[in-house]
């Protein structure tokens, strides 16, 4: 559980200066942490899901003597409290790379699940099936998360970020929400009803939208790690990419305004009651024109507010495009995006996608989003199913919805993708590449090399985001404080030499 605490690395490493290019420009580190849910059906006697999760992690334990490890692609794979398999992507410099790493996580989980399923069937019958859900709510109403991490410049006060970003994050769900069947109707988000406290340090009973956990895994004097927990887990590749990309642009505006001592334009958009606004947005389909009250006394619809953010960001980009494009230089083109725009400006591609989705929402043509917004994809299938089978039950729709999120044995998402009904931004080969290869332009590249060498040599090792350690036969450690740097250090080379 996230706690409010300052970074433990402060005293140790405050002396390393941060290159001014990183502080002055718009570059960023992106990361996504995804918790998966596990269930078993078809077994010939009761099975404990926690036990199944342990079986899934058996190959990890036999390799690492722990359920917590790092992979050759630089990502972290572990078993969280409550038997949630969890995967945290390696440091990425752009949303496309983060997407590739997140999809790699789905593959890793799927492979672990299918291997465990073969073992399970030896004892629980040939029909035993492991489901691994990339979603956010179980049948009993327990919510769990998909957390986005953004490295932000520490000179911006957290209160400023929260105040200016939260209205964006809440209304962003119009296109990033994963959708959920509830007894009260179909909502466009998974978890709005579980996120009751707007911004806070976490406690076990409240679920904040932006978390103040502050372990930057970087120079703590220069950066903080913004930990966003309001987002849903997405199957849609477009949605995963989009939520990171658009949030990045909004953060760029906030950071630059503070740097210049000027205005971002977002100052007066805070909601009077963020949790209430969040619940209203989640019920967007019931009342698309619902007015949300701002703290300023004004009111605005969710879509209008997104349009305001878009316009403000668009104006900002007009004056900073070169620098913003430079920060996303590694963002290569993706399928289905405008190739000509992509070649010129990755920032323009994001703006273009954002404008398109808002236009479609403004027209009320929700089916036109079914290839990119998870909620719209589900909604369209549910409509078609009800048309074909008017007697379909609520619990069947619930089942189908879970099936959509099942990355191990689900059919619905795969069927949509195979029939070209979900945009695939990355090819299967690109995802497979990310299963094995770390991003080459961040610290993750060094971690990946280290893990690969440690596995090859059979050495005992451990790691976290900033430390690489060989624990036996002789303890050696390398500290990598700058997440933007893939350049080797003498300490790192010394460590690597012990593995040869």
């Amino acid at each position: 559980m996230p706690q409010l605490r300052d970074s433990g690395t402060r005293a140790l490493h405050a002396t390393e200066p941060v290159p001014s290019a990183e502080m002055d420009g718009f570059c960023r580190i992106f990361g996504v942490e995804t918790e998966y849910g596990v269930a078993v059906t078809g077994a010939n006697r009761p099975v404990d899901a926690g036990q199944v999760a342990m079986t899934m992690f058996q190959p990890v334990v036999s390799r690492s003597r722990s359920t917590n490890t790092y992979l050759t692609n630089g990502s972290r794979l572990y078993l969280d409290v409550g038997s949630h398999p969890e995967y945290a992507t390696a440091e990425a410099r752009n949303p496309r790379e983060a997407l590739a790493q997140d999809l790699a996580g789905e593959r890793v989980m799927r492979n672990l699940a299918l291997k465990a399923q073969r073992k399970l069937r030896e004892s629980y019958g040939g029909q035993a099936t492991i489901h691994v859900f990339k979603n956010n709510v179980d049948s009993a109403g327990h919510a769990f998360g998909c957390h986005e991490n953004y490295l932000v410049r520490r000179f911006v006060p957290l209160e400023t970020i929260e105040r200016q970003l939260l209205p964006f994050l809440i209304t962003r769900q119009l296109y990033t929400g994963a959708g959920r069947m509830t007894p009260d109707g179909f909502q466009i988000t998974q978890r709005a009803d579980f996120l009751d406290e707007a911004v806070s340090s976490a406690t076990t009973r409240s679920r904040p939208m932006v978390n103040t956990r502050d372990e930057p895994h970087a120079d703590p004097d220069a950066f903080r790690r913004l930990h966003v927990i309001i987002g849903d887990s997405n199957r849609s590749q477009w949605a995963t990419w989009m939520k990171l990309a658009v949030t990045h642009l909004v953060l760029c505006v906030i950071e630059d305004a503070f740097r210049r001592g000027g205005s971002s334009g977002f100052e007066d958009w805070a909601f009077a009651d963020p949790a209430a606004a969040n619940r209203t947005v989640s019920r967007f389909l019931d009342a698309p024109d619902a007015e949300l009250s701002l703290a300023s006394g004004a009111s605005v619809t969710a879509l209008e507010l997104q349009r305001r953010y878009h316009s403000a960001v668009e104006s900002f980009v007009a004056g900073h495009r070169e620098a913003m494009d430079a920060a996303l230089a590694g963002e290569t083109s993706m399928r289905g995006m405008s190739e000509s725009t992509a070649a010129v400006s990755p920032t323009a591609v994001i703006l273009e996608q954002w404008d398109r989705v808002l236009s479609v929402l403004e027209q009320g043509d929700y089916d036109a989003l079914a290839d990119c917004a998870d909620w719209a994809a589900k909604r369209r299938v549910f409509k078609a199913l009800r048309h074909r089978r008017p007697d379909v039950t609520f619990v069947q729709l619930e089942q189908l919805e879970l099936d959509y999120h099942d990355i191990a044995n689900g059919r619905l998402y795969g069927s949509l993708a195979d029939r070209s009904q979900m945009r695939q931004l990355l090819t299967a080969d690109e995802t497979e590449h990310a299963v094995h290869e770390a991003p080459q332009d961040t610290r993750a590249a060094l971690r990946g090399r280290f893990v690969e060498a440690a596995l090859a040599s059979g050495a005992q090792f451990s790691a976290d985001w900033t430390h690489l350690t060989v624990t036996a036969p002789e303890r050696r450690e390398a500290v990598l404080l700058d997440p933007f740097s893939a350049a080797s250090t003498s300490e790192f080379e010394t460590l690597m030499n012990t593995l040869r």
């Binding site: 078993v40 059906t41 899901a49 949630h84 327990h142 099936d403 949509l416 070209s420 009904q421 695939q424």
Partner: protein
């Protein structure tokens, strides 16, 4: 480590290069019919899922902890 896991199955994501909803200019009615054909095929694909015990399936998923 990923090498220790089996090779993932291809999800046949490479097969369809075209992006359905960017095919601007297609005759709207034709596209409407195509879409409903596609949806029919998708419903066929998930028919077997719906034949399993939905109640058991949904209730099997109870998770503890997280976040």
């Amino acid at each position: 480590m990923p090498q220790q896991f089996e090779q993932p199955q291809s999800q046949s994501q490479d097969i369809h290069e075209d992006d359905v909803l960017t095919t601007a200019g297609t005759d709207a009615q034709q596209q409407g019919e195509d879409q409903s054909d596609v949806l029919d095929s998708i419903l066929d694909d998930i028919e077997s899922t719906l034949e399993t015990n939905a109640e058991e399936y949904v209730n099997s998923f109870v998770q503890k902890g997280g976040e």
